[in-house]
Amino acid sequence: MINFIEISKKFKTDFWTQYFWALENVSFEIAEGHIIGFLGANGAGKTTLIKILMGLIKTSSGRVEFSTKLGKNQKEVFSNMGLLPERPYFYPHLTGNEFIYYLGSLNNVSKIDLKQRINYWAERFKITHALERKLKTYSKGMLQRLGFISTIIHNPKMVILDEPLSGLDPIGRKEIKDSIVEINKEGRTVFFSSHIVPDVEEICKRVVFLEKGTLLYDGQIDHLIEKNMKPNYQIKYYANDEIITQEIPIVEKEEFLKKIINNNQKIISVEKLRPSLEEILYNIKTK
């Protein structure tokens, strides 16, 4: 849907300092239909890339190409995209309803549709009671939920979320994650940045990993995990009223289990060890 082609971006913080490359030769594609995780530590360049994508800042070199499925010109493309910026700020004196109407009108969504969609999502996020209140009375989590609603109010084909889970409690994170999965099932592509690996691992099949402005990995999470799978099993069992956890190489697994059974000890679990993305990425970095 969206192709990043050799994107580089340099910043100059002030007149005397040297250039600083926030992005260097980043190329990858956001394929249609997936939820794509966009990982990177603080300052890796995620937000910068998203700003470039939305035409808010210019690249130093390289370009972004949009597939014709999104539209023929910028206006059409932008009608089919929804962006939730990082740490968004909301007009304090507008009410929740007014805010959504404002942004929805910019997307030419009719009043009737707006109303219906607001009702649906506000109900889901349990902020219906606050829709007539000024935004300055909203809590951080409520604002984040409202921001999410405004991002998808026009049924975009492509949704870009810059750290949508930051500042949310566990319930809020779950709600938003479920919603992301839901809108993806409806056929919307989701590109979502985060520096929290388990969140990405939970809902994404593909990841793009950025480190200090360069692309480190772009592909399936499963592949990555498969490649980095440790050839070990983790076995938990009871011995003398104590839970013992042991890592055993695959080939010795049967022998070991036999021994436990013979000793009349109770097996709790046998699990193939799955490295977390965190460990894998750490591996890539240190290589």
């Binding site: 700003k51 939305m54 035409g55 808010l56 800042i57 210019k58 206006k75 059409e76 932008f78 009608s79 995209m81 929804g82 962006l83 939730l84 910026p85 990082e86 740490r87 968004p88 700020y89 909301f90 007009y91 004196h93 507008l94 007014e98 404002y102 942004l103 009108s105 910019l106 997307n107 030419n108 000024k134 921001g147 405004s150 991002t151 026009h154």
Partner: protein, 262 residues
């Protein structure tokens, strides 16, 4: 044609919610109460002296209306666009199918709406009291109010322009400087010293072409001496104001179009 329609519609949407947002901050309420207080004090103070109370009310009222709207133009204008960038609200808006020009124009129109409303409220307040005290409304007073609107809009456009190229503090300072110079430039040009020096007078000439001459919009003396403003002069001044506004909008939109929004 469709594009123009869409452009106007997007402008209108931004205008509407910008206007609401500022109105709901209750600033006009405060200005209204302040104005009412000030005029009442005037009235009370002057009813104990031998003066012409209605003239004083008119003078204070028109002055207050012009100053308060210029103050509001600067205060809100400096953040009108720059605060949107700083707070990243602009990302949520410009990532939708709306051009930067439409957004800029909508924001400015929203603020202009607030300024006009402010001026209308204070004018009604002033004129009611003025008539109540026995004054009679002349067209010159209405023209003067109209010129106050033009002045406030120009100041607004100036501060928006500066806010796009420098930081808020400097924007305010520059705008205030332009405003003050714009009010004194005619006096300086008449001044004998300036006339004698070719360099100074040519600098002043260049300046008066580039920068606004707010004195043209000030009819206080005319009102005071009950003079008459010829229709052609009125048209001339209005045209001057409109051309100046268009010029500022043109430059500002070019700058905004190219600006990196980070």
């Amino acid at each position: 044609m469709n594009d123009i329609n869409d452009f106007c519609y997007k402008c209108y949407v931004v205008f509407k919610y910008t206007f609401f947002e500022i109105i709901k901050s209750k600033v006009l309420m405060n200005v209204f109460l302040l104005g009412l207080g000030l005029l009442l004090i005037c009235y009370i103070a002057y009813s104990f002296t031998y003066g012409v109370p209605e003239r004083v009310v008119l003078d204070v009222g028109l002055g207050m209306l012009s100053l308060s709207s210029v103050g509001m133009a600067i205060f809100f204008g400096v953040g009108l666009i720059s605060k949107e960038i700083e707070n990243r609200t602009i990302y949520m808006i410009l990532s939708r199918p709306i051009s930067r020009k439409a957004f800029l124009l909508g924001r400015i129109m929203g603020m202009v709406g607030v300024l006009i409303l402010n001026i209308l409220i204070l004018s009604v307040l002033t004129l009611v009291l003025y008539v109540f005290l026995g004054g009679s409304i002349q067209s010159l007073i209405l023209i003067s109010i109209f010129f106050s609107i033009i002045e406030a809009i120009i100041v607004l456009l100036i501060v928006v322009f500066f806010s796009l190229i420098t930081n808020p503090t400097l924007s305010v300072i520059y705008t205030v400087v332009v405003y003050i110079i714009g009010h004194s430039i005619s006096d300086t040009m008449i001044n004998g010293f300036a006339k004698k020096s070719v360099i100074i007078s040519s600098i002043l000439n260049v300046y008066s072409v580039i920068f606004p001459n707010f004195n043209k919009l000030n009819l206080k003396d005319l009102i005071l001496y009950k003079q008459y403003l010829p229709f052609t002069t009125f048209c001339g001044i209005t045209t001057y104001g409109l051309v100046y506004m268009l010029f500022l909008i043109f430059i500002t939109s070019i700058i905004f179009e190219r600006k990196n929004l980070d």
